[in-house]
Symmetry: C2
Subunit: 209 residues, 2 copies
C-alpha cells in the first residue's frame, strides 16, 4: 500500500485564528507541508521568495495559467494569487499531508479537481467573540472591523460545502482536533480504494483454495 | 447549542474483530450507547431480554414493522431482526453517541433515513490475516472458514458506501481511532447546521450596529 499524503484545505473568517492554528500545526507535527502561493504582488519588507510566496511577474503568472500549472487562482484588485500544482502533487507523493490556506472560492475549485480533498472551516465560538478578537488587535478602525464582520457574513454563505466546522475556542484543543481529523482522513473510503481492491483480489484467491 | 449524539454504524467482516472492538469502546468511554436489536428468535442460554436482544413474538415484530417502530429490519431464515427506533432516538436526544452493529444492507437503510449517520467498516489488515484469525479460533471447520471468506468477498462489494475503512491491526489503536472518528463526527458540517445558522444571525445583528 502506498501511503500518499492527503490534501487539506483550511478556510475561516478573518479573526478566527487560522494563522495561529497553522503555525502551531506545522510546529507540533512534522508530517505537514504548507502549500505556498504564487503571486504577482511585490514582496513586503521581511517577506522572502519561496517562504511567504513565490513572487513572479505577471507574464510568468499568465504563462502558468495557460500551462495548467496552477490548481486554482484568483485576482484581487491588481494582483494574481494562485496555487502551484507541482508543489502540492510532489509533497503528497512524498507522503506529506499538504495544507492549503485559502478562501472559499479557491476551496471549491480545489474540491472540483481533487474530490478527495478535505475541506475544513475554522470559526470563532461566537460572532461576539469574533468582534472581540478583531477589536483587541487594536490596529483596525471601527470601519475596518465592521467590514470584516460583513465579509464574514458573506463567507458564511458557502460554509455547507466544507466537510468539518472547527470551532477555535482554545488553540491547543483546536490544533489537536485539526490534526486528528486530517490524520483520520487517510482512513476515508476514498483514500482506501487501493487497499479495498487488494483485499478483494486476495480474498478471491484465498477463498478458491 | 444542543449537543445531540451522533449515530455510528459499524460493519465488518466476520473475523475482523468487531465484537472485541465494540466491547473495548463501550468499556473505555462512557458517552456511547449500543443499540439493541429486536428479534423473533429464541434466547440462547445466557442471553437476557434487553441485553443481547429484545426477544419478541412474531406478531409483536410485525406490529412494530407496521407502526414504523423499526429503523430497519431483515429476515434471516425463519427469524426477524430489527433496530427499534425509539431507543436510538432517545439516546441521541440524551446526548449519547449511538453505536449500531449491523451488516451492509441494514447500514444502507439507516443511511437513507439518517443521512448524517457515520458508516464505519472494520477490516483485518489482510485476507491472509482474516483466514488466520478464523482458523485460530479452532471452532470452525475448513468448510465454514471457506464460506466465511466467500461471505467477506460478497460483503466487500458494498464497501464504497461506507465513510471510513478502519484496519483492525492492533485492537488498542483501532478502538482509539474509532472513538476519535466518532467524536470528530460531531464537527461534521451536517452536525453543525444549527451552530452555523446561529452564527449567521449573530453576525447579521452585530455587523448592522
Amino acid at each position: 500500500m502506498i501511503n500518499k499524503g492527503v490534501l487539506a484545505v483550511v478556510s475561516g473568517f478573518s479573526g478566527a485564528g487560522k494563522g495561529t492554528l497553522m503555525k502551531a500545526l506545522l510546529e507540533r507535527y512534522d508530517n505537514y507541508a504548507l502549500s505556498i502561493s504564487a503571486t504577482t504582488r511585490s514582496p513586503r519588507p521581511g517577506e522572502a521568495d519561496g517562504r511567504e510566496y513565490f513572487f513572479v511577474s505577471r507574464e510568468r503568472f499568465e504563462e502558468m495559467i495557460k500551462a495548467g500549472q496552477l490548481i486554482e487562482y484568483a485576482r484581487y484588485v491588481e494582483n494574481y494569487y494562485g496555487t502551484p500544482r507541482e508543489y502540492v502533487i510532489n509533497q503528497m507523493d512524498a507522503g506529506k499531508d499538504v495544507i492549503l490556506e485559502i478562501e472559499i472560492q479557491g476551496a471549491l475549485k480545489i474540491k472540483s479537481q481533487f474530490p478527495q480533498a478535505l475541506l475544513l472551516f475554522v470559526m470563532p465560538p461566537s460572532a461576539a467573540e469574533l468582534r472581540e478578537r478583531l477589536t483587541s488587535r487594536g490596529t483596525e478602525t471601527a470601519e475596518v472591523i465592521k467590514n470584516r464582520l460583513k465579509r464574514a457574513l458573506e463567507e458564511a454563505e458557502g460554509i455547507e460545502n466544507y466537510d468539518y466546522i472547527l470551532i477555535n475556542d482554545k488553540v491547543e484543543d483546536c490544533v489537536r482536533q485539526m490534526h486528528q481529523i486530517i490524520q483520520d482522513h487517510h482512513s476515508r473510503t476514498c483514500n482506501r480504494l487501493e487497499f479495498i481492491e487488494n483485499m478483494r483480489t486476495e480474498l478471491h484467491q484465498i477463498s478458491k483454495r
